[in-house]
Structure formats: C-alpha cells, structure tokens
C-alpha cells in the first residue's frame, strides 16, 4: 500500500512535466502580467518612467472620474444589449437549422460565414450600411421619403448600432455550440416523446432545453467575458463618440494608457474590468448552483 501510493506520488510529479511547457508560458504571459498590473495600479506611473507608490489613490480617483463611470456604464449596457440577444438568437437559429436538409446546411454556413471576418473588414462593411451619406440604409430612408438616420452619430443609437453589428458578427460560434448540444440528443428520444403524446412545448421544455442548458451557460459566460472586452468596433467606427456615448472600458483604458501616458491609472481601470469579467463568469454558474440547491431543499 505504502509502496504503491509512493509510486503514484512520484508518477504524479512526472506527469507534471508534460504540462510544464504550457504552464511556463501561462505563468510568463498571463499570471505575471496580471500581478504586475495589480502592482502597477498602486503607483502613479508615466509611460516614460517615474513611478511612485500611492496605494489605492488611483481607484478612489476612478470613482470620481465621470469619463470612467460613463465607460463603465457603456460596457455594462453593451453586454446587456448583446449577450441575451446573442444567446436567444443563436438558440433559435440552432433549433430551426438542426435538421439534415441541404437548405439547413447552407443556412448554417451562411450564419457562420460572418464569424470569419476580421474586425477591420466588419467595420468597413457596416460603415457602408450605416453612414447617412450614401449608406445602404440611407437609400431605404430616401425611398420612403425620410431623412437618413445617423446611427453612429446619435448618442442614443450608437451603442445599440454597435450591438447589432456585434451580434451579426458573433452569432456563428454560439449557434455551432448549441447545434452540437442538440445533436447529442438521440432521435429515438424524440420518437419516444411522440409516442408519449408530448406537445412541442413540453418536448422543448423537458427534453431539448435541459440538453442545451450547459451550452447556454457556457455561451453566456464566454460572451460576457468577450463583450466586456469590446474594442475594435468602437475604435474603428466611432472612436468612442459622440460625446463618449460609445466608449467602452477597454477603449477608455487604451486612451488613458497610450494617449495620456497615465499607465498606473489605466492599470487600475484594467483591474476593475478584470473584476467585472470575473463576476460575470461566475454569475451563470452561481445561478445554476442556487437553482440546484433550492430544488434540493424543496425535495
């Protein structure tokens, strides 16, 4: 017994060798910069040197900074606009395209095709659609005798416009993930439900939805993390304007660090974003635990 457990322990350390290449790069490129960033956020630091310790002063300053608070609000709003729509739309697409017809296969490719575009191409395409001066939508406005809408220059429309663009761009991957979850359910289970006189709604509620639920939670968490980091679309289309109405946190951090050279302050804002994403990742999982816990208590 003692010999075998010792063997297992040594083997365990030997196995670690295989993970070492990954772990070393992970520590070097992710863990170290994270810690360095946390340290930096406690300093007043300029991009060209000269840093001195100021403890939490950067953080205090952030909460008095109207521009930061606006960016924080924009980011929350952007995630709130994109993630639920992405999850619902991708789920509906997956449900309707989960069949073995040629048309469904073609439509799956069409939906996924937008995902392969780079953010640069994406913004070029959508600028052609949205600009009031000769854009695609402006033609329709003229057709019905209306003045074209300046989607990207209107403080109330700019974030929803960016959200639409982002949903269009990001729909492919969630749809594929949902499709693969749907295809895990054998056809015979649906046939058994047909013999059990199940209505389409009870089939969805009791068979399909539970099967895709893990994928829904994964996609929601992943998209939250991703959309909190939105940068390319506002940077290339609006530069955060008009009046900062489309400036999300990453754009704020970028401008503070690299335009104003205030990297200690930018690092503090980065830590706030990091905390925000961490919470967003845990929320769906926590909701699931709570649901299971409450269900367990009721039983």
């Amino acid at each position: 017994m003692a010999v075998s457990s010792r063997n297992e322990a040594t083997r365990g350390w030997g196995n670690l060798l295989f993970a070492l290449p990954f772990l070393s790069v992970y520590v070097w490129l992710l863990v170290y910069p994270l810690l360095a960033g946390i340290r930096l956020s406690l300093y007043r630091a300029n991009l060209f040197g000269g840093e001195h310790f100021i403890a939490f002063e950067n953080y205090v300053r952030l909460f008095r900074d109207g521009t930061f608070l606006q960016a924080l609000g924009n980011s929350l709003m952007f995630v709130g606009l994109t993630v639920p729509v992405l999850v619902l739309l991708a789920l509906m697409l997956a449900l309707s395209l989960n069949r073995a017809t040629r048309f469904a296969a073609f439509m799956r490719s069409v939906v996924f095709a937008s995902s392969v575009l780079s953010v640069t191409v994406l913004t070029i395409i959508w600028r052609q659609v949205l600009v009031p001066d000769g854009g695609l939508l402006s033609h329709f406005s003229h057709m019905i005798g209306q003045a074209p809408v300046a989607f990207l220059n209107d403080q109330r429309l700019v974030l929803p416009s960016l959200a639409v663009i982002t949903v269009w761009w990001s729909l492919g991957l969630p749809m594929i993930l949902f499709l693969s979850a749907l295809q895990q359910v054998p056809r015979s289970v649906y046939e058994a439900a047909a013999l059990d006189r199940a209505t389409p709604w009870s089939v969805f509620r009791r068979i399909t939805l539970p099967a895709v639920m893990p994928a829904v939670i994964l996609v929601a968490a992943y998209e939250c993390a991703l959309q909190f980091q939105v940068f390319g679309q506002p940077q290339l289309l609006t530069q955060g304007g008009p009046n900062g109405a489309s400036r999300p946190l990453v754009l704020y951090i970028y401008e503070t660090g690299f335009n104003h050279w205030d990297i200690g302050y930018a690092a503090a804002a980065s830590q706030m974003l990091f905390a925000l994403i961490l919470v967003a990742l845990l929320v769906p999982q926590a909701a699931r635990w709570l649901h299971a816990f409450l269900k367990g208590r009721r039983a």
């Binding site: 359910v185 015979s188 289970v189 046939e191 058994a192 059990d196």
Partner: protein
C-alpha cells in the same frame, strides 16, 4: 383487396395489415403487405439486418407513415392516427429514456400527457416499478443506472401506459450475454401474464424460438414464413428459412431424385440412394434438387460401406455437444452433431450416415418439400 372498401371496420381483434405499401426515396420497402397478429400474441419478427423488420415496427408505432394500405388495431384503422393516439407503446433498441428526468418522471411523462389523474399515475408507477423491481431507483436519472436497469425502466415506461400493443425493437441486443438470458426469461414470463399484444423485432433466432407464440421470418423486405417456432424449425418454407433458423445452418446436398419405396422420393447422392419420407407425386418438375438435413440427423460412423466416406475438416466443441465439419469425396461439406466432446480430429477418415426420414427436399426455386407426417 379490391373488394374491401375504405374505412371498412376489421372484424379481427389484434393487429392487421392490409395491402400496406412503404417506399423510401422511391425504393419500395413493402408492397401489398398483408399480415394478421392475434390479440394477446407474442409475435416476433425475425430476420437479418436491413430486411425491413424495424420499418414494419415503426409503421405500427406511427413513426413512419404508410404510402398505401391500411393498418387496423382492435378493429380501428390507425394508419392516419398520430403516434401518441394509437394505443401503442414501444421499447427502443437504445431505450431512448429521457436523460434529464428521473425514472419516476420518465414513467409519468406519457401518463401526464394522456391526462391520467395524478393519484392514478402514482399507483400505476408504484405497481409497475414493483413488478419490474425498479422501485429502488425511481428517484435516479437514467444516466446513473446500469444497462440492465435502463432496459427495465424502458420496459416499465412502455407497460405503465397499459398499451393495446407493446412494440419492442431488439430490446435485448445491448445487454451482456448473462443478463440477456435472465431478461429473456423475464420477457417470457411477461408474455404469459400480459393481455396486450406484443410485437418484437430481433435478429437473434434463440430469442425468437424461446419467446414467440408465432414467428415471422423476413428477408429482403419479403415475408418468408409465418408460423409457430416448431413449424418454422421443423417445416421451413424455403431455403432461406432452413439456413437462417437453427443453431447451425441446415446441411444442403445437390443430387437427383429417383423413385423410392412406397411412393416416396429417394435422393441419389453419387453411388448411394437416400430414402426420404417426402411423397413423390406431390413434387413438381424441377431441374435441380437439394437435400436438406439438420446437423443432428447426420451421424458419423466408420468409413466402410454402405456409409458415405468423408474426411473431417474441423471440429467445434461447444461442451454439451460438438459440431464436426466433414467433406465428402465430391467436395460438398456437411456438419454433424455429436453429443459431448467429439473424439474426432481434422484429417480423420470417417463415414457419414444420413437419416433420410428427417430429410427435406428443395426444388430449384428454393421451395421446401417436407416428409409426410408419420
């Protein structure tokens, strides 16, 4: 079928197929299929993979639609009825349990959809669970159960609905051999106690022989023979059935017919005549004949005359009996059964004695002719 008007009510209780046709992508699977299964029968459809037996089951269940003809269940035409309204329950080959419901919820799902009152659902689940010994894990999800337990749950989910007809698609094929034997015996007991008609599909002839009240043998989407297990075994309708049923395929030898004693046919095999009990005057003209003989009616002796000389090819020893594969001088092969462990070794020279009284004759179309009953 021309004289049977549409929507005519069938007289028969049980299940009846009338001129049922089914095609997939233009390929005809069934054409004018007629079949009657009596109420309370344990009817088994036996055939090799791809012979259309599962399609037949799915037509009854309503998971496939017929392209023509009618299906009656207890006098009611059901071919256009929704699957859930046919009074049919099915045990799927992969069980098809609802993975995110507990065993109890799996059983209750269909009953709730049928509008059965909650109190009755509880009683029915309790009774069914007890009779199939699954009451210990009613709260568990199917994923936590072993294959055998899942199989019981699948059966319970079908039985709890008290169907008019219970369909089973290869229900034992995913079980390991020991469990399969045990479950097969339980199914046999179920068949005796259940008033519902049972239709089961299998490719395993042992299951068919031991469980069925009647067997239907299918090959290439065509019914080969319908009969009791004993009829199928002792009077196979044709070459396919003779070769498909039995622990080892029926031995076949080619030769000529001759007149034998008492109006019975004799079969000329090289220099020896084998006297059969098949009436000669019944036999049609045929350009070729084959003699069919089960392995247990081939005996091995010493190679002297009048026995047919042969050489042992190889021996399969099963424990309680052995199958000795021998080759005759003309190259044709035979299997003989010996009880216990055979002493023969490959290359041994032996003599073969054929029990002509048990022999069947097959004409050039593969049709079988049997010995007259004694």
């Amino acid at each position: 079928m021309g004289n049977s008007p549409k929507n005519q009510v069938a007289e028969t209780q049980g299940l009846e197929f009338r001129a049922v046709a089914k095609a997939f992508d233009g390929n005809r699977v069934f054409d004018g299929l007629n079949l009657t299964i009596g109420k309370g029968e344990f009817f088994i459809i036996l055939g090799p993979s791809g012979c259309g037996k599962t399609t037949l089951l799915r037509l009854i269940a309503g998971l496939e639609t017929v392209d023509g003809g009618e299906i009656f269940l207890n006098g009611r035409a059901i071919q256009n009825t929704e699957a859930g309204d046919r009074g049919v329950a099915m045990v799927f080959q992969d069980y098809a349990l609802y993975p995110h419901m507990t065993v109890a919820e799996n059983l209750a799902f269909g009953l709730r959809n049928m509008g059965v009152p909650a109190a009755e659902i509880a009683t029915r689940i309790g009774d069914t669970a007890r009779s199939l010994s699954i009451d210990a894990f009613l709260d568990k999800r199917p994923g936590k159960l072993s294959g055998g337990q899942q199989q019981r749950v699948a059966l319970a989910r079908a039985l709890v609905k008290k169907p008019d007809i219970l369909l089973m698609d290869e229900p034992l094929s995913s079980l390991d051999p020991a469990l399969r034997l045990k479950t097969r015996r339980e199914l046999a007991a179920l068949g005796r106690n259940l008033s519902a008609t049972m239709v089961m599909v299998t490719h395993d002839q042992v299951e068919a022989m031991t469980l069925a009240t009647r067997i239907m043998i299918m090959h290439d989407h065509v019914i080969q023979q319908i009969g009791t297990p004993l009829e199928i075994f002792s009077r196979p309708a044709n070459l396919f059935v003779a070769q498909f049923v039995g622990a080892t395929p029926m031995n076949l030898l080619s030769g000529d017919l001759a007149a034998g004693e008492a109006g019975r046919a004799a079969f000329r095999l090289g220099e020896s005549d084998i006297q059969t009990q098949v009436a000669l005057h019944d036999l049609p003209e045929s350009t070729a004949w084959q003699l069919g003989l089960r392995a247990e009616h081939v005996a091995l002796t010493t190679p002297e005359k009048p026995h047919i000389p042969a050489t042992v090819d190889f021996v399969e020893r099963l424990g309680e009996q052995s199958w000795v594969h021998v080759r005759l001088t003309d190259g044709s092969e035979l299997v003989a059964t010996e009880t216990g462990v055979s002493p023969h070794r490959p290359g041994d020279r032996v003599g073969v004695r054929l029990d002509g009284a048990k022999a069947h004759l097959f004409d050039v179309d593969g049709r079988a002719w049997h010995p007259e009953p004694a």
